[in-house]
Symmetry: C2
Subunit: 238 residues, 2 copies
DNA sequence: TATCACAACTTGTATATACAAGTTAATATA
DNA sequence: TATATTAACTTGTATATACAAGTTGTGATA
């Protein structure tokens, strides 16, 4: 909360409502307080409230109905392909277990999953982390993330077990994902995938390569997610 | 243009700017006229202009930079997984050829690709169409679309060859896609896919099942897209 | 010619106000 | 008790105005 006061009021309201939804204070189907009510309780005017709500609409948290209210959609689901969420918020914490296969370590870049790197990114090296996501005791996602080594104190000593990388970036470094690019393709399982997902050679695997753009100018990070979609496809709303 | 006059001014402006971008009047990197300039030329006020521009930002057409201007990003790319675009706008018309394998015909529903159907949807039956999308002479997408038979005069006689279904819905029926749900998974090629994509058994295929929600209340349509991603993965920004 | 300061532009954020259009609740009447 | 009408709520759309903060261009000066 150290720098919350410096945020514009519409962002404060947006954050609070978003957190209320993701924390379950509002459930799917609930109706948020009306715009007028939010004006009163937050001491702002209606255009400010509407700007916060519009962003919640844009990100899939709520849906508005003229004359009725703002209806909670619940948390947008689907691994980041459809929203800015990371895997954790896509699947939901209660069903997802994150296992750190390789803790973050500082290294030089391999390629950034096919995305071109800028020269200063190459210079600073990156933290590389490998994780396995398990849903109901079943390995479903294997992902590799590379984060450039730019002003990330104590990054490699943080606890990533069962925590969202997006949340860690956001709360510890004030770095928020604001967009990015991604590529999707179907491949067959290589040996690492066969091992992690316990599947046979030839098993189809979904691969998602992503370049995340952030609020910190010139700071991108990269991830590659392999998904065994036999039991859990990727699902999302848009 | 028959009902353009009944649209609110911010939507008219949004539509015009969107079309200017998709038609290539503005190219990636160009800067749109300033907000003040758009106020003058469209005889509206700045909040109205900003609402139109905000929607363009939201959909990935432009990016705003404080003090500088609204920078054109070009058309958002990536098959619908990341935006409301259909396949045609995702890949770009010049590289994409759409071949109608089975013209739209009225039929009863098979299941809607795993999405539950409402009883009135079952009652009215649907138009089913199968298409093959070819990029640089190479079949890449095979898709099946089912559209409920609700007030769609002359639907089955329209020309879908090399045209966007989204555009046809939009211009002929004033039905716009406003969101939806989708599922993604990796499978191996079945016999139809082996034939259409000219691939061997066991070849990995990306499957995308979608339920489109529209501006017409209670009107959804459904599609299932199979992608051979060997040469063309799905790409998008978000 | 280069540099600095300032003006003039841009977008970002916000208040205030008003009316349109949709939904729901309350009240009157049959 | 049921129905219809109206009031009171909701979101949708818009104008007007003001100041903050970022970027760029212009003019003055060294």
């Amino acid at each position: 909360m150290t720098n919350k006061k410096s945020l514009p009021p519409y962002k404060i309201l947006y954050e609070q409502l978003r957190r209320h939804i993701t924390d379950g204070l509002y459930e799917k189907g609930d109706i948020l307080p009306s715009e007028n009510e939010l004006c009163t309780t937050h001491n702002v005017t209606r255009p400010t409230v509407r700007k916060a709500l519009d962003r919640l609409v844009h990100e899939g948290y709520i849906r508005k109905k003229q004359g009725k209210g703002s209806i909670v959609q619940g948390q947008p689901q689907g691994v980041g392909i459809l929203s800015l969420s990371g895997t954790t918020s896509a699947i939901g914490k209660e069903n997802l277990e994150t296992k750190i296969i390789i803790k973050p370590y500082l290294t030089t870049w391999e390629d950034a999953f096919g995305f071109p790197l800028l020269s200063y990114e190459k210079e600073v090296g990156c933290y590389r982390i490998e994780r396995l996501r398990i849903i109901n005791k079943q390995p479903v996602f294997y992902d590799i993330t590379m984060v450039p080594n730019i002003n990330l104190p104590r990054f490699s000593t943080r606890n990533f077990e069962n925590r969202s990388l997006f949340e860690i970036m956001r709360t510890n470094y004030q770095i928020e994902v604001i967009g990015g690019e991604q590529k999707l393709m179907a491949i067959t399982a290589n040996e690492a995938m066969q091992q992690y997902f316990n599947v046979k050679p030839g098993h189809p695997i979904l691969r998602l390569d992503r370049k995340m753009e952030t609020t910190k100018e010139g700071f991108f990070f990269y991830s590659q997610v392999f998904c065994n979609t036999t039991d859990y496809g990727l699902y999302g709303t848009f």
